[in-house]
Amino acid sequence: MQGAIDVFGALRAIGHRFVANIDGPLFSIALVILSIGLATLFSASSGFPGRVTGQVINIAVALTVMWLMAQIPPQTLMRFAVPVYLLGVILLVGVALFGEIVNGARRWLHIGVTRIQPSEIMKIAMPLMLAWFFQRREGFVSWREWIAAALILAVPVLLIAKQPDLGTAVLVAAAGFYVIFLAGLSWKIMIGLAILGGVSLPVLWSMLHDYQRRRVLTLLDPTTDPLGAGYHIIQSTIAVGSGGLTGKGWLEGTQTHLEFIPERTTDFIFAVYSEEFGLLGNATLLVLYLLLIWRGMVIAANAPTLFSRLLAGAIVMTFFTYAFVNMGMVSGILPVVGVPLPLISYGGTALVTLFTGIGILMSIHQHRKLVPT
C-alpha cells in the first residue's frame, strides 16, 4: 500500500515536472485550433489519403519542439540570439549563391542528406535578434540604434524577398517590425517611413517580379484572368460566399470536394473551412485566434525583461499576421502570398515554427518570477 502510494506520488511528481512549463490556457486554445484543423484537413484531403496522418505526425514533432522550447529559460535563448541570427543570414546568402530552384524560386539549401529553407529560421531568429539588440541597449536608444535595428531587419528580409518569397519576407519583416514598434520607435519616424513608403511604391512596383505584379493586379480585379492567376481568388471567394451563415456542413462543401479549390490542404484550407462551416465557423475561428493572441499578450505584458517582453510581443503579433494575411487572401482582400493558416494548414515546417514560438511564450511565462530584472 505504502509502496504503491509512493509510486503514484512519484509518477505524479514526474508528471508535474513534465507539464510544469506548459501554459494551460495557451496549450488548450492551440489544441482546439489544431483539432479544427485536422477535421478540415480530413475534408479537404479526400483526394490525398495520408494527409491527415501526416499532419498528426507533424503535430507530434511540433509539440515535442514546443515542450523543449518551454524548458529553455529566456536567458539561455538570449545567448543563442546572435549565433542563430548570423547562421540564418549565412544560410540565406548560401541560398542566394547555391540554392536549389523549385517552382521558379530559389528557396531551398541542400545540407548533406536533407534540404532546408533558411528563411523559415528567420521567422524566429529575427525577433530573437532584435529583442536581444534592444535588451543590450536598455534605456539608451538613440537614432544610431534605430538605424542598426533597421539594418538587422533589412538584410535578411531583402535576401528572402530576392529568392523570391514574398510571403515569408512579409512575415519576417513584420516580426522584426513588431519588435522595433514595441521597443518604442517614435511615431514621427513611423509616420515619416509610411510617407516614404507611399512615395516609393512605384519604385517597389518596378522591382516586383512579374508573377507578383500579376497577383496584385488580379487581386484588384480577379475576373481579368478567371482561368489563370485569378482562378485561385475567384474559386476561394465563391467557396467562402457559398458557405453562407452556417456553412454546407462538414464533408459537404461542393467547391472542396469537386476540387474547384486549389491548394485546398495548404494555403487555401480556410476556403474549405469557410465553405463547410460558414460565417458562424469563421467567427468561432476568429475568436479562437483572438484568445490565443490575448493569452500571448498577457504573457508579454507580464514578462520580466525587455528581451522577453519584446520577443513574446513579436511572436504573438506574428501569429496574428499569419492568420490575418491568410484569411484576407482567401477571402479576396489581400494579395495571394504564400502564407499558411496557423495551426490549420497542412505542413510540418510552419507547425514547427509556430510551436517553437508557443514554446518560447510558455518558457517566458514560466520563468517570469525566477529572474529579477
Binding site: 536598455e138 534605456g139 513588431y178 514598434f181 514595441l182 518604442g184 474559386q235 471567394t237 465563391i238 467557396a239 467562402v240 460566399g241 457559398s242 458557405g243 453562407g244 451563415l245 461542393t254 467547391q255 470536394h257 469537386l258 476540387e259 474547384f260 469557410s274 460558414g278 460565417l279 469563421n282 467567427a283 476568429l286 485566434y289 483572438l290 493572441i293 490575448w294 499578450m297 508579454a300 505584458a301 525587455l306 517582453r309 519584446l310 510581443g313 503579433m317 496574428f320 490575418f324 484569411m327 484576407g328 477571402s331 479576396g332 482582400i333 530584472t373
Partner: protein
Amino acid sequence: MSRTQFSDASSDVRRFHWRLAIAGVAVFAAFSVLFGRFFYLQVVQHDYYQTKAEDNRITVVPVAPNRGIISDRNGVVLARNDAAYTLEISPGRVADLEGTIDGLAAVVDIQPKDRKRFKRLLDESKGADSLPIRTRLTDEEVARFAAQAFRFPGVEIRARLFRQYPQGKVASHALGYIGRINDKDLERLEAEGTLAQYKGSQHMGKVGIEQSYERELHGSPGFAQVEIDAGGRALRTLSSTPPVSGNNLVLTLDTKLQEVAERAFGDRRGALVAIEPATGGVLAFVSVPTFDPNLFVDGIDPTSWQALNEDPDRPLNNRALTGAYPPGSTFKPFMAMAGLELGKRSPDYTIQDPGSFGLPGVSHRWRDWKAGGHGAVNLHKSIVISCDTYYYGLGNDLGVDAIHSFVGQFGFGQRTGIDIEGEKPGLLPSQKWKWDRYKQKWYAGDTISISIGQGYNLATPLQLAFATAILANNGVVYKPHIVRYVEDSRTGERRAVEPQPVRTVKLTPKWVELVKNAMVDVTRPGGTAARAGAGAGYQFGGKTGTAQVVAMKQGEKYDEKRVAERHRDHALFIAYAPAENPKIAVGILVENGGHGGSAAAPIARQVFDYFLLGKLPDRPAATSADDDDD
C-alpha cells in the same frame, strides 16, 4: 542596479504596455475587417456565390438518342447499335495534344492510323467538345486507363452506341452509312433549324437510306443534370429527361435476294435494281463492287479511304442510282409501245431489213448489228431478235418529240423519286433540250440513234427497272421506294411508305399484250436471251441491250476480243417474271460485260430463280459468250 536605471526600466514597461495595447487594438480592428468581409460574402452576397457554386458544380448534358434500327422485309437486321467504349480527348482542355496522345499510347494501344484519323477529325470539327482517339476499347484497356486517368485531364472513357452493319458489304449502296458530324453538317443543320436535335449526337447519316431517312432514324436528345468536378469529370446524375429513340425502318429489300444478286455479278462491275411492280417496293438494290459501311462509322482512317477512293473499280460509286448509261436495245420495247399507241405501226407492218438504214440526202448509213440484216421483220420479231433497222424507221416516223413525250411516261429522263438521295435523272432528249443545251437544232439523224437507245439517251439502272416495272404492271406507276414502313419507336405504330399508285400510263391492253409476248419470246429459243431463259420452269419477259462505250467509225467492225476490257460494250438486260403475273422487274447493267444476252441476262435468271423458286445458284452467272444478240 541604480535607481535611475530602475525608473527607466519602469517607464520602459509602461511604454511597452502602451504599445502592446495599441497592437491589441490593431489586431481587433483587423479581425473586425475580416469579419466584415466574411459577413459581406456569406450573408449579403450569399445568393450570388451560392449560384456561382451551383454553376460550377452542375452542368446540363445532352443525352444522344438511340438511332433507329434498319431491317429488311424478312426481319433481317441491316443496321443496329452496339455499345462500346471509346477513349475521347477534349481538345479544348488539353494543352499538349501530341504529348497527351504519346502518354495514352503507353496505356492503351494507339496505332498510327488512330492518330491520323484523330487529326482528320480535329481538322473537320474544330468546335467539337470531344473526339475519339481510340474506339472499341477492350475491357482490359478500359481498366488500364481508369487506373491512370488522373494523369490525363481532358481525356475520358465514354460508353457510346456504335452503328453496326451486321451484313457488312451487302446492300451497302442502299443502306449508306453514318459518319461523324462535321462543320459542314453543322452549318446545314443550323440552316434547317434542326441543330437542337443534334445536341449530344456525334453521328448522322451521310449516304443512302441512313441519309434520306435521317429525320426518322435520329430521334430526339434527352438531357441530364450532371454534377461535375473542377476537371470537368461527370460524377453523378442529379436528374434526367430520357432521349426519344429514332424510329425503326423496315425495308422492302430482301437481303437474301440482294446477296444472290450481288454474287451473280462475280468479279464484274455493274448494277441491278429489282422492283416489285405491284407496289414499287425495291427488292434488291445492287451496285458492285460494294464497300463495308462499318469503316465509315468512327470516321474512316485515311489509308482505307485512299484505298476505296483510288480503286479503279470505284466501289464508292453508286451505279444503280447515279450511273447514267445509254439504255441501248432495252429501249426498244418502249419504242414499240410508242409506235403502236401513236398509230405509227400495226402488228402486221413488216419491213425488209437490208442490214442498214439511210435517210434521204444523208450519206451516212445506220447499220444493223447483224451484217446483211434480218430479212422480213415485224414488230414482234423486231423485239425478239432486236432488229435495229426496224427502229431506225420507226424513230424517224415518230420524231424525237413524240418519243420524248411518250417514252418519258415510263420515267426516262427524270428522277424516279426513290427514297434515296442523290439520284441522277438520266437523259431523254428532245428538240428543246438540244437547243437549250447546245444551241443547236435537232437533226433527223439524231433521232435515228435515239431509236435504239443510243445517242444522247442515258438511263440509270434504277430507271430501267422502274420503266420495266411500269410495263409489267400494264402502265400503273408506283413510285419506287425502299422503305416499306417506319416503325414508331415509342408506340410501335407502323407508317407505310407510298402505298398508292401515283399515276397510270394510258396503254391499250392488246398492244401491251403484244409487246410483252415478244419480250417473253426474247427468253425462248430464237430470242436474244434464249440461253438465259432455257429450262427456267417459269416464263419471263426480257429485253437485252448493249451500250457502246467507244464510238465505232463508219465501216469498222466491232471485235470484242480485240477491244481492251475497259472499252468493251456495257451489257444490259431488263426483265420481269413471271410473265403472266409479274412479281419482280429488274434492270441490269454489267459494265464492259459485252453482250446483254450473255453477260446480263444470266444474272436476271439467277435472281428470278431464287426469288420465284428459292433456288440458290452454285456459281456466279455465266459470262461466256453464247447467244447471238443485237
